[in-house]
Symmetry: D2
Subunit: 319 residues, 4 copies
């Protein structure tokens, strides 16, 4: 589904289930897409950080994206992450994504190398010129160790390079300032870039982001409970902030599943992605909860804690 209007709503970064050989489990992935669309989401983000994109080979990335596009069948737009160190490599992923039918691209600033803001601007512009798809900037300093400044985002929005921003920087004050500069929550349509879409990746403060005027959210734990985020979004759109805040609080309690991995033994990232996948397996949506090597797998005890969190949030495990 092409992006004819600015992207809005709930756009989960789709997890990538694996089979027992460690390859993409396309049947489970198609079921997950169905689960998300049935939950009412407004778009899907394939090959993002939550999709373990950094762990997948190019072939596996292709398989995952093709599966998401096919299973979606045009019902919602599919955004494709094109995550790699620098421009030439990102363009290769972008061409592949375009060929596979992605509706938009999501790219970060260069990483591994230290890059100047002028170079980052060149990077996004070259990418937009080379592959003709709407382009979202993915601001994720925890991964790329560069923060996109509001000035840079505005410049690239105003010259038409960017169709939107996916902000995973955690800098809520900075995002708020950007939205005010773009016209504010009620004035965006009359602002300098009326069609620019602001999505937050801060899944614990979505009510706040929507109150501030963000267009939507890209929630990792939206894989597990897409309907919850859709309810939150709908309440916020209706101006029922109390309901939105209560739904957010329920989702925060659900989110606590990311703490299940003992810090001494595994990284925060492995434990969060492992918990999401364990929840999806417990809910009967995917077959196997494994994360990609070298991530350490959750213990049975940790999975039991995930199960508890599901029940606590009103979601019933089937396994």
């Amino acid at each position: 589904m092409p992006l004819t209007a600015p992207l809005h709503g709930v756009v989960p970064p789709v997890c990538t289930p694996l089979d027992s050989r460690g390859e993409v489990d396309t049947a489970s992935l198609a079921r997950l897409v169905e689960h998300l669309i049935e939950g009412g989401v407004h778009g899907l983000f394939a090959l993002g950080s939550t999709s373990e994109v950094a762990f997948l080979t190019d072939e596996q990335r292709g398989t995952a994206l093709r599966t998401v596009v096919d299973a979606t069948a045009g019902r919602v737009p599919v955004l494709a992450g094109v995550i790699d160190t620098t421009t030439a490599r990102v363009i290769e992923h972008a061409r592949t994504a375009a060929g596979l039918g992605a509706d938009a691209l999501v790219a970060t600033a260069p990483f591994y190398t230290r890059t100047h803001p002028k170079e980052i601007a060149g990077h996004f512009r070259r990418l937009r010129e080379t592959v003709d798809l709407p382009l979202f900037a993915y601001d994720i300093p925890v991964a790329v160790h560069t923060k996109l400044s509001a000035a840079l985002v505005r410049e690239l929005a105003e010259d038409g390079t960017l169709a939107g921003l996916k902000d995973s920087s955690g800098d809520e004050g900075g995002l708020r300032r950007l939205i005010v500069e773009l016209g504010g929550r009620d004035g965006r349509a009359q602002g300098p870039v009326p069609r620019f879409s602001v999505l937050t990746g801060s899944e614990l403060t979505v009510d706040a982001a929507l109150l501030a005027g963000a267009d939507g959210v890209v929630p990792g734990i939206g894989n597990v409970d897409p309907a919850g985020y859709v309810r939150l979004y709908d309440a916020a759109r209706a101006g029922d902030w109390q309901t939105a805040a209560r739904e957010q609080e329920r989702l925060i309690e659900l989110f606590a599943m990311v703490d299940v991995g003992p810090e001494a033994d595994m990284g925060r990232s492995s434990s969060a992605l492992g918990a999401f996948k364990a929840a999806l397996q417990l809910l009967g949506i995917i077959d196997d909860a494994a994360t990609v090597f070298p991530q350490i797998q959750l213990s049975a005890e940790s999975v039991a804690l995930v199960s508890q969190r599901l029940r606590g949030a009103g979601l019933q495990p089937v396994r």
Copy 2:
């Protein structure tokens, strides 16, 4: 005014005006206190970062605090920052503050030295045991380069060490998780520490923090427009989130005054504090806008930009 109930509302960190010799201008400071109380604020925080506490000698700190306490005359509670590197030094400031009539203390984790969470817990406990005043933890990693974990704050709240938290960490998601753990926005009174007060120092997302269940805000730019923050707070308390968000947006535009200093020539901190003081001078509240040496002073051009920001936000300079 002793803290009989949990602290809530708007509690600005009071700027410290200087005279031409660089000493505390007590007349200007008393006028500033009056300006704030007339604006409807619920408390005052003297000797915070915005008060340039790190730049003041012990004698100057004493003068500033005494002036704030005297000018306040019990109309609202006065919190006193006790900012120093480690416990013994902080306790000396705390004793002075108690002697000068402060109603509560605000202390950071140790700085300059690297400190273990167990040592930080010991630091707050010793301080609370030694000086009998309600104690707020001041979480400000940009200054002390340590983040207080939610677990540590909870532990110190539950054992009665802390009366509250002033969160200037910018980690809105983390703060939200803490509030949910404390019972959530509607359940705090039935939670584990019903009298614990959560204040945010993130002055650009106050509507969001209040929606999340925070009790109040400590806004630097509240020096300039206390009535604006009080309107925001009142709207939020009344459940009128649209009005709260609009007021927040107006305050964000006002806040843009902190960008007036050219980055090549002065620090972000000097330019923000210089802008607040310039605004207070332009509004006729304080006599001199100087910040403490070695901070670089705003140019006339920068002051003109501050004046523009005031007018843009509906505040009329009198000079």
Copy 3:
């Protein structure tokens, strides 16, 4: 040339010259290899950070490595960087490198994602088990934002996973402690891993590293003046530390060429790599000094400063 003994000496990370279309200029690259081998270097490191590996497509990486291997013709060992985000992607590069005739592999910890030390250990072990070539750990926190601990390096050295370490962490004290743990400068051969090779990437303190017991150096500016580093190495081996230190000082003055790019307009990385390539062009070794997009190119003024630095260090530009 297979690595039969522990790697030692001067092992420059080979720059990757480009032609006017931005593709690898194999003729220039072959001339650069000749320049380095004539300079007396003991090995070559292709596809490292200085080779702009993060900017090259897989095809370009293949071309560059093939060219270096062919031009070297077995005269010295060729190490190949296998730089990518995580294990599966790194293994693909490693298989390619093995197929192209590399004598050893150089891999970093995973990046983009946050990874636990146990996961990093798994990463190196899996890589070593899968592709049968000596493996060097590349400790470069400025790029991957993880520091390999001495304990982890020792563990992977002692179990035979690692043949050596390329330390670009800048933590000279930590490296010294590691060497002492391995037996010290005179006792390495009797230590726990007698064949483990310690190479420093800190090109400004090579005399110091050799005095400490390091086996060799991977100097970026060794592209420009390989013979200088070989003289430094030979003097150190002969115990003539005064001569070694003087040569190091000359190379430091030469290295100042990396400062030519104005900070306002380009990144430190672009300016350093641009300066190395400009110097190689001025010396007549490569045809074109361009760095890979989106890096910003040196101005004519900056190139003139590079030329000055060359003359100052006794190297005569031919253009």
Copy 4:
């Protein structure tokens, strides 16, 4: 002993022993001074980070400095740390130190607040103008979270503000570049600031720093084994780099005592300072090994490990 020539040699940062009430144990401190001077050191640095200066009240600082000055009795110069957040507070310490007979001052950049390089320059200049004692800049980013640039140090050296630099930044390459800019190891006397003294705080790479042309070292573990650092220094001065390196290796093995504290229970800083004091107690030099609250104390097991390290380095515990 006034600083008539540029400071050189071994200048340990003197530990501050405590009595059972947590006050400065002046008798133990005087014995420690004697131990250091008998060890042949060339100067003493009181009230540095290793002296736990950040933990001492102003009164305790005064007691410690007075004791060091008195015990030294002019046999070597005494440098005094004047560690506080900003200029006015540092000047107060500087006046006290001058009154107590310090021969030179050691000051950091401002901390707690974020400060611009121009403000840092103003800070050092004002301090030098106000208190007439030779001034050393203390570059310690791990504590103050600002790195002094080589350009700033040069500027302040050339205009006479600074008598020297104590570099605890760990940036050995940067320090080497600075020394080359000052004329290099053999050319300093003919360079732009012939009387400027460069001291390294990197106690594990002292042979390297001296080879590079540094004038001396400020080693924390020099409290425990001053004679070892003096031997290292003398060997280096005599050009006997092999002996210098061997002595350095012995001191590195001794230094491993800083690892005795279990990371789960105490900070790195507490464990290092605790180990130094435990060693001094075991050697019979000070009465009590306690570090200042809230630092956590070493366990008996950890003290036993310190004892082992002493024996391993050829130092005989007497308790």
